[in-house]
Symmetry: C2
Subunit: 175 residues, 2 copies
Amino acid sequence: MTNAELAILSLIAEKPHHGYEIEQVIDARGMREWTEVGFSSIYYILKKLQDKGLIQSRPEPPKGRGPGRKVYRLTPAGQAAWRRAALSALANPERAYSPFQVGLANLPQIPEQDAVQALQEYSQRLRDRRDHVHARLNQAGDTLPFHAAAMFDLSLTLIGAELAWVRRFVRKLSE
Amino acid sequence: MTNAELAILSLIAEKPHHGYEIEQVIDARGMREWTEVGFSSIYYILKKLQDKGLIQSRPEPPKGRGPGRKVYRLTPAGQAAWRRAALSALANPERAYSPFQVGLANLPQIPEQDAVQALQEYSQRLRDRRDHVHARLNQAGDTLPFHAAAMFDLSLTLIGAELAWVRRFVRKLSE
DNA sequence: CTACAATATTCTAGTACTAGAATATCATAG
DNA sequence: CTATGATATTCTAGTACTAGAATATTGTAG
Protein backbone atom coordinates (compact mmCIF):
# COMPACT_ATOMS: atom_id res chain seq x y z
CA MET A 1 0.00 0.00 0.00
CA THR A 2 1.42 3.37 -0.98
CA ASN A 3 1.56 6.48 1.15
CA ALA A 4 -1.29 8.16 -0.72
CA GLU A 5 -3.46 5.04 -0.56
CA LEU A 6 -3.02 4.80 3.19
CA ALA A 7 -3.73 8.50 3.66
CA ILE A 8 -7.06 8.16 1.87
CA LEU A 9 -7.91 4.83 3.44
CA SER A 10 -7.30 6.45 6.85
CA LEU A 11 -9.88 9.12 6.18
CA ILE A 12 -12.44 6.53 5.12
CA ALA A 13 -11.62 4.46 8.20
CA GLU A 14 -12.45 7.48 10.32
CA LYS A 15 -15.85 7.76 8.69
CA PRO A 16 -17.38 7.27 5.22
CA HIS A 17 -16.53 10.02 2.76
CA HIS A 18 -17.10 10.87 -0.86
CA GLY A 19 -14.28 11.94 -3.18
CA TYR A 20 -14.78 15.65 -3.18
CA GLU A 21 -15.12 15.69 0.57
CA ILE A 22 -11.81 13.87 0.90
CA GLU A 23 -10.16 16.67 -1.02
CA GLN A 24 -11.71 19.19 1.36
CA VAL A 25 -10.59 17.32 4.47
CA ILE A 26 -7.06 16.96 3.11
CA ASP A 27 -7.05 20.67 2.49
CA ALA A 28 -8.65 21.72 5.77
CA ARG A 29 -6.30 19.61 7.87
CA GLY A 30 -3.24 20.74 5.98
CA MET A 31 -2.44 17.12 5.23
CA ARG A 32 -0.31 18.18 2.27
CA GLU A 33 2.38 19.11 4.79
CA TRP A 34 3.15 15.43 5.17
CA THR A 35 1.45 13.59 2.34
CA GLU A 36 1.40 14.16 -1.38
CA VAL A 37 -1.92 13.59 -3.00
CA GLY A 38 -3.17 15.67 -5.90
CA PHE A 39 -6.82 16.42 -6.44
CA SER A 40 -7.07 14.28 -9.55
CA SER A 41 -5.31 11.41 -7.80
CA ILE A 42 -8.07 11.05 -5.25
CA TYR A 43 -10.56 9.49 -7.64
CA TYR A 44 -7.83 7.39 -9.16
CA ILE A 45 -6.85 6.03 -5.77
CA LEU A 46 -10.46 5.53 -4.76
CA LYS A 47 -10.93 3.40 -7.85
CA LYS A 48 -7.83 1.38 -7.06
CA LEU A 49 -8.92 0.79 -3.46
CA GLN A 50 -12.30 -0.32 -4.73
CA ASP A 51 -10.74 -2.65 -7.31
CA LYS A 52 -8.74 -4.21 -4.48
CA GLY A 53 -11.96 -4.71 -2.55
CA LEU A 54 -10.89 -2.50 0.35
CA ILE A 55 -13.72 0.01 0.02
CA GLN A 56 -17.21 0.04 -1.47
CA SER A 57 -19.26 2.93 -2.77
CA ARG A 58 -22.92 3.76 -2.40
CA PRO A 59 -24.52 6.46 -4.54
CA GLU A 60 -26.40 9.11 -2.58
CA PRO A 61 -29.19 11.34 -3.86
CA PRO A 62 -28.14 14.98 -4.28
CA LYS A 63 -28.37 17.21 -1.22
CA GLY A 64 -27.91 20.97 -1.36
CA ARG A 65 -25.96 21.96 -4.43
CA GLY A 66 -24.36 19.75 -6.96
CA PRO A 67 -25.05 16.29 -8.23
CA GLY A 68 -25.37 13.13 -6.14
CA ARG A 69 -22.28 11.70 -4.50
CA LYS A 70 -20.64 8.34 -4.18
CA VAL A 71 -19.95 7.65 -0.53
CA TYR A 72 -17.14 5.22 0.18
CA ARG A 73 -16.86 3.02 3.26
CA LEU A 74 -14.45 0.29 4.34
CA THR A 75 -15.20 -3.34 3.59
CA PRO A 76 -14.14 -5.89 6.23
CA ALA A 77 -11.07 -6.60 4.10
CA GLY A 78 -10.42 -2.87 3.99
CA GLN A 79 -10.68 -2.59 7.75
CA ALA A 80 -8.06 -5.31 8.13
CA ALA A 81 -5.81 -3.83 5.45
CA TRP A 82 -6.04 -0.38 7.01
CA ARG A 83 -5.06 -1.71 10.43
CA ARG A 84 -2.13 -3.62 9.03
CA ALA A 85 -0.91 -0.70 6.92
CA ALA A 86 -1.25 1.88 9.68
CA LEU A 87 0.70 -0.26 12.14
CA SER A 88 3.30 -1.03 9.51
CA ALA A 89 3.77 2.69 8.84
CA LEU A 90 4.29 3.19 12.58
CA ALA A 91 6.75 0.32 12.85
CA ASN A 92 8.93 0.72 9.74
CA PRO A 93 11.21 3.69 9.16
CA GLU A 94 11.75 4.43 5.49
CA ARG A 95 14.72 5.99 3.88
CA ALA A 96 14.14 9.54 2.72
CA TYR A 97 15.59 10.19 -0.71
CA SER A 98 16.38 13.84 -0.51
CA PRO A 99 17.68 15.92 -3.42
CA PHE A 100 19.79 17.73 -0.84
CA GLN A 101 22.00 14.69 -0.36
CA VAL A 102 22.36 14.38 -4.13
CA GLY A 103 23.37 18.03 -4.12
CA LEU A 104 25.98 17.37 -1.43
CA ALA A 105 27.41 14.58 -3.53
CA ASN A 106 28.26 17.23 -6.13
CA LEU A 107 30.18 19.50 -3.78
CA PRO A 108 33.67 18.63 -5.01
CA GLN A 109 32.80 19.91 -8.50
CA ILE A 110 31.26 23.17 -7.31
CA PRO A 111 33.21 26.37 -6.52
CA GLU A 112 33.13 26.96 -2.80
CA GLN A 113 31.57 30.41 -3.02
CA ASP A 114 28.63 29.14 -5.04
CA ALA A 115 28.14 26.25 -2.67
CA VAL A 116 28.16 28.48 0.38
CA GLN A 117 25.67 30.82 -1.20
CA ALA A 118 23.35 27.95 -2.14
CA LEU A 119 23.58 26.48 1.34
CA GLN A 120 22.74 29.81 2.90
CA GLU A 121 19.64 29.98 0.75
CA TYR A 122 18.86 26.48 1.93
CA SER A 123 19.04 27.51 5.58
CA GLN A 124 16.90 30.53 4.92
CA ARG A 125 14.22 28.43 3.26
CA LEU A 126 14.38 25.86 6.05
CA ARG A 127 13.87 28.66 8.55
CA ASP A 128 10.88 29.86 6.54
CA ARG A 129 9.45 26.38 6.54
CA ARG A 130 9.96 26.05 10.27
CA ASP A 131 8.27 29.38 10.86
CA HIS A 132 5.42 28.36 8.62
CA VAL A 133 4.83 25.14 10.55
CA HIS A 134 5.16 27.04 13.78
CA ALA A 135 2.56 29.55 12.66
CA ARG A 136 0.15 26.78 11.72
CA LEU A 137 0.68 25.20 15.12
CA ASN A 138 0.00 28.44 16.98
CA GLN A 139 -2.98 29.18 14.81
CA ALA A 140 -4.50 25.81 15.72
CA GLY A 141 -3.85 26.68 19.35
CA ASP A 142 -4.88 24.37 22.18
CA THR A 143 -7.72 22.83 20.21
CA LEU A 144 -5.39 20.31 18.58
CA PRO A 145 -5.77 16.67 19.55
CA PHE A 146 -2.71 15.04 21.07
CA HIS A 147 -1.59 13.21 17.95
CA ALA A 148 -1.91 16.27 15.70
CA ALA A 149 0.19 18.35 18.06
CA ALA A 150 2.75 15.54 18.01
CA MET A 151 2.87 15.61 14.23
CA PHE A 152 3.65 19.31 14.24
CA ASP A 153 6.26 18.74 16.91
CA LEU A 154 7.91 16.01 14.86
CA SER A 155 8.12 18.28 11.82
CA LEU A 156 9.63 21.06 13.89
CA THR A 157 12.15 18.67 15.46
CA LEU A 158 13.33 17.30 12.14
CA ILE A 159 13.54 20.70 10.49
CA GLY A 160 15.41 22.03 13.50
CA ALA A 161 17.97 19.22 13.38
CA GLU A 162 18.58 19.72 9.67
CA LEU A 163 18.87 23.47 10.10
CA ALA A 164 21.45 23.11 12.85
CA TRP A 165 23.44 20.70 10.71
CA VAL A 166 23.43 22.97 7.67
CA ARG A 167 24.50 25.97 9.73
CA ARG A 168 27.38 24.03 11.25
CA PHE A 169 28.36 22.78 7.80
CA VAL A 170 28.35 26.23 6.22
CA ARG A 171 30.49 27.52 9.04
CA LYS A 172 32.99 24.71 8.47
CA LEU A 173 32.98 25.24 4.69
CA SER A 174 33.65 28.95 4.84
CA GLU A 175 36.38 28.69 7.48
CA MET B 1 15.10 17.38 -13.27
CA THR B 2 14.29 14.47 -10.97
CA ASN B 3 16.46 13.14 -8.19
CA ALA B 4 17.49 10.09 -10.18
CA GLU B 5 18.32 12.14 -13.27
CA LEU B 6 20.54 14.46 -11.26
CA ALA B 7 22.27 11.55 -9.55
CA ILE B 8 23.21 10.04 -12.90
CA LEU B 9 24.05 13.37 -14.50
CA SER B 10 26.38 14.03 -11.57
CA LEU B 11 28.34 10.88 -12.25
CA ILE B 12 28.71 11.77 -15.91
CA ALA B 13 29.75 15.30 -14.94
CA GLU B 14 32.53 13.78 -12.87
CA LYS B 15 33.79 11.85 -15.86
CA PRO B 16 32.32 10.01 -18.87
CA HIS B 17 30.75 6.68 -18.01
CA HIS B 18 28.84 3.91 -19.72
CA GLY B 19 25.61 2.51 -18.33
CA TYR B 20 26.86 -0.63 -16.70
CA GLU B 21 29.69 1.28 -15.08
CA ILE B 22 27.22 3.75 -13.60
CA GLU B 23 25.47 0.85 -11.91
CA GLN B 24 28.80 -0.29 -10.47
CA VAL B 25 29.70 3.16 -9.18
CA ILE B 26 26.26 3.58 -7.59
CA ASP B 27 26.77 0.26 -5.92
CA ALA B 28 30.37 0.79 -4.86
CA ARG B 29 29.69 4.19 -3.34
CA GLY B 30 26.59 3.00 -1.56
CA MET B 31 24.63 5.74 -3.30
CA ARG B 32 21.42 3.81 -2.69
CA GLU B 33 21.55 5.07 0.88
CA TRP B 34 20.37 8.44 -0.37
CA THR B 35 19.11 7.98 -3.90
CA GLU B 36 16.72 5.54 -5.44
CA VAL B 37 17.71 4.30 -8.84
CA GLY B 38 17.07 0.76 -9.99
CA PHE B 39 19.38 -1.05 -12.38
CA SER B 40 16.87 -1.04 -15.20
CA SER B 41 16.17 2.66 -14.68
CA ILE B 42 19.72 3.64 -15.53
CA TYR B 43 19.38 3.00 -19.25
CA TYR B 44 15.93 4.54 -19.22
CA ILE B 45 17.27 7.72 -17.63
CA LEU B 46 20.31 7.76 -19.90
CA LYS B 47 17.97 7.71 -22.87
CA LYS B 48 15.90 10.53 -21.43
CA LEU B 49 18.95 12.67 -20.73
CA GLN B 50 20.11 12.05 -24.27
CA ASP B 51 16.69 12.94 -25.70
CA LYS B 52 16.88 16.21 -23.79
CA GLY B 53 20.29 16.85 -25.33
CA LEU B 54 22.11 16.88 -21.99
CA ILE B 55 24.43 13.98 -22.76
CA GLN B 56 25.78 12.29 -25.88
CA SER B 57 27.00 8.77 -26.39
CA ARG B 58 29.96 7.41 -28.29
CA PRO B 59 30.25 3.68 -28.99
CA GLU B 60 33.54 2.14 -27.91
CA PRO B 61 35.11 -1.03 -29.28
CA PRO B 62 35.03 -3.92 -26.82
CA LYS B 63 37.86 -4.12 -24.29
CA GLY B 64 38.38 -7.12 -22.06
CA ARG B 65 35.21 -9.14 -21.65
CA GLY B 66 31.83 -8.29 -22.95
CA PRO B 67 30.54 -6.33 -25.91
CA GLY B 68 31.38 -2.75 -26.81
CA ARG B 69 30.06 0.02 -24.65
CA LYS B 70 28.34 3.32 -25.15
CA VAL B 71 30.21 5.98 -23.26
CA TYR B 72 28.19 9.03 -22.27
CA ARG B 73 29.55 12.52 -21.74
CA LEU B 74 27.98 15.90 -21.02
CA THR B 75 27.07 18.24 -23.85
CA PRO B 76 27.54 21.97 -23.19
CA ALA B 77 23.80 22.16 -22.48
CA GLY B 78 24.21 19.24 -20.08
CA GLN B 79 27.06 20.98 -18.28
CA ALA B 80 24.86 24.03 -17.74
CA ALA B 81 21.85 21.95 -16.71
CA TRP B 82 23.94 19.94 -14.27
CA ARG B 83 25.31 23.09 -12.63
CA ARG B 84 21.87 24.61 -12.31
CA ALA B 85 20.31 21.42 -10.94
CA ALA B 86 23.10 20.74 -8.45
CA LEU B 87 22.95 24.27 -7.05
CA SER B 88 19.18 24.13 -6.94
CA ALA B 89 19.32 20.90 -4.95
CA LEU B 90 21.68 22.62 -2.50
CA ALA B 91 19.48 25.68 -2.21
CA ASN B 92 15.95 24.24 -2.00
CA PRO B 93 14.77 22.10 0.89
CA GLU B 94 12.04 19.68 -0.13
CA ARG B 95 9.30 18.29 2.00
CA ALA B 96 9.76 14.66 2.96
CA TYR B 97 6.57 12.66 2.59
CA SER B 98 7.08 10.01 5.19
CA PRO B 99 4.70 7.11 5.80
CA PHE B 100 5.51 7.55 9.48
CA GLN B 101 3.59 10.82 9.62
CA VAL B 102 0.66 9.13 7.87
CA GLY B 103 0.88 6.44 10.53
CA LEU B 104 0.82 9.06 13.28
CA ALA B 105 -2.31 10.56 11.76
CA ASN B 106 -4.01 7.24 12.48
CA LEU B 107 -3.12 7.14 16.17
CA PRO B 108 -6.57 8.05 17.53
CA GLN B 109 -8.08 4.94 15.91
CA ILE B 110 -5.38 2.56 17.18
CA PRO B 111 -5.37 0.87 20.61
CA GLU B 112 -2.59 2.36 22.68
CA GLN B 113 -0.83 -0.92 23.34
CA ASP B 114 -0.55 -1.71 19.65
CA ALA B 115 0.71 1.78 18.91
CA VAL B 116 3.36 1.60 21.60
CA GLN B 117 4.53 -1.75 20.36
CA ALA B 118 4.75 -0.52 16.77
CA LEU B 119 6.64 2.59 17.83
CA GLN B 120 9.10 0.52 19.79
CA GLU B 121 9.76 -1.53 16.68
CA TYR B 122 10.22 1.73 14.84
CA SER B 123 12.90 2.88 17.30
CA GLN B 124 14.64 -0.44 17.10
CA ARG B 125 14.78 -0.29 13.31
CA LEU B 126 15.96 3.31 13.40
CA ARG B 127 18.74 2.24 15.75
CA ASP B 128 19.67 -0.55 13.33
CA ARG B 129 19.77 1.91 10.49
CA ARG B 130 21.92 4.31 12.49
CA ASP B 131 24.32 1.50 13.37
CA HIS B 132 24.44 0.43 9.75
CA VAL B 133 25.37 3.92 8.57
CA HIS B 134 27.86 4.18 11.39
CA ALA B 135 29.46 0.90 10.37
CA ARG B 136 29.76 2.04 6.77
CA LEU B 137 31.36 5.26 7.94
CA ASN B 138 33.91 3.46 10.11
CA GLN B 139 34.59 0.97 7.38
CA ALA B 140 35.43 3.80 4.99
CA GLY B 141 37.75 5.17 7.64
CA ASP B 142 39.82 8.29 7.08
CA THR B 143 40.00 7.80 3.35
CA LEU B 144 36.67 9.57 2.83
CA PRO B 145 36.68 12.93 1.09
CA PHE B 146 35.25 15.81 3.10
CA HIS B 147 31.86 15.91 1.38
CA ALA B 148 31.29 12.16 1.69
CA ALA B 149 32.02 12.26 5.40
CA ALA B 150 29.56 15.14 5.65
CA MET B 151 26.87 13.10 3.93
CA PHE B 152 27.27 10.30 6.46
CA ASP B 153 27.22 12.83 9.26
CA LEU B 154 23.99 14.36 7.95
CA SER B 155 22.33 10.95 7.83
CA LEU B 156 23.42 10.20 11.37
CA THR B 157 22.22 13.58 12.60
CA LEU B 158 18.76 13.21 11.07
CA ILE B 159 18.33 9.63 12.23
CA GLY B 160 19.49 10.64 15.70
CA ALA B 161 16.97 13.47 15.92
CA GLU B 162 14.11 11.25 14.80
CA LEU B 163 15.14 8.52 17.21
CA ALA B 164 15.21 10.93 20.14
CA TRP B 165 11.78 12.23 19.21
CA VAL B 166 10.24 8.77 18.93
CA ARG B 167 11.69 7.70 22.27
CA ARG B 168 10.31 10.79 23.96
CA PHE B 169 6.95 10.22 22.30
CA VAL B 170 6.71 6.57 23.37
CA ARG B 171 7.54 7.56 26.92
CA LYS B 172 4.76 10.15 26.88
CA LEU B 173 2.29 7.72 25.31
CA SER B 174 2.86 4.97 27.85
CA GLU B 175 2.76 7.30 30.85
C1' DC C 1 -35.41 32.96 -15.78
C1' DT C 2 -30.76 32.90 -16.63
C1' DA C 3 -26.09 33.13 -15.82
C1' DC C 4 -22.85 31.99 -12.41
C1' DA C 5 -20.67 29.71 -8.65
C1' DA C 6 -20.20 25.69 -6.09
C1' DT C 7 -20.38 20.90 -5.98
C1' DA C 8 -18.99 16.43 -7.83
C1' DT C 9 -17.12 12.82 -10.96
C1' DT C 10 -14.91 11.05 -15.15
C1' DC C 11 -11.77 10.98 -18.98
C1' DT C 12 -7.58 11.70 -21.82
C1' DA C 13 -3.03 11.90 -22.37
C1' DG C 14 0.77 12.20 -20.42
C1' DT C 15 5.40 11.35 -17.00
C1' DA C 16 8.42 8.69 -14.47
C1' DC C 17 9.84 4.95 -13.40
C1' DT C 18 10.51 -0.45 -12.52
C1' DA C 19 10.93 -5.62 -12.75
C1' DG C 20 12.52 -8.88 -15.25
C1' DA C 21 13.43 -11.23 -19.48
C1' DA C 22 15.85 -11.22 -23.85
C1' DT C 23 19.81 -10.52 -26.40
C1' DA C 24 24.60 -10.19 -27.34
C1' DT C 25 29.83 -10.28 -26.73
C1' DC C 26 33.97 -11.96 -25.04
C1' DA C 27 37.60 -14.30 -21.69
C1' DT C 28 38.83 -18.11 -19.50
C1' DA C 29 38.56 -22.56 -17.16
C1' DG C 30 38.24 -27.21 -18.08
C1' DC D 1 36.52 -26.16 -28.43
C1' DT D 2 32.81 -25.58 -25.43
C1' DA D 3 30.41 -24.22 -21.39
C1' DT D 4 30.19 -20.71 -18.07
C1' DG D 5 30.20 -16.40 -16.18
C1' DA D 6 31.09 -11.54 -16.43
C1' DT D 7 30.10 -7.71 -19.09
C1' DA D 8 26.70 -4.78 -21.43
C1' DT D 9 22.38 -3.07 -23.65
C1' DT D 10 17.55 -3.35 -25.12
C1' DC D 11 12.75 -4.56 -24.85
C1' DT D 12 8.11 -5.60 -22.96
C1' DA D 13 4.68 -4.96 -19.98
C1' DG D 14 3.50 -3.21 -16.23
C1' DT D 15 2.50 0.44 -11.79
C1' DA D 16 1.57 4.69 -9.86
C1' DC D 17 0.45 8.63 -10.33
C1' DT D 18 -0.72 13.66 -12.31
C1' DA D 19 -2.43 17.82 -14.86
C1' DG D 20 -6.05 19.52 -16.71
C1' DA D 21 -10.14 19.40 -19.44
C1' DA D 22 -14.79 17.65 -19.94
C1' DT D 23 -19.10 16.73 -18.09
C1' DA D 24 -22.97 17.19 -15.15
C1' DT D 25 -26.12 18.92 -11.31
C1' DT D 26 -28.07 22.27 -8.42
C1' DG D 27 -28.78 26.68 -5.55
C1' DT D 28 -28.79 31.48 -5.71
C1' DA D 29 -28.03 36.27 -7.12
C1' DG D 30 -29.44 39.56 -10.29
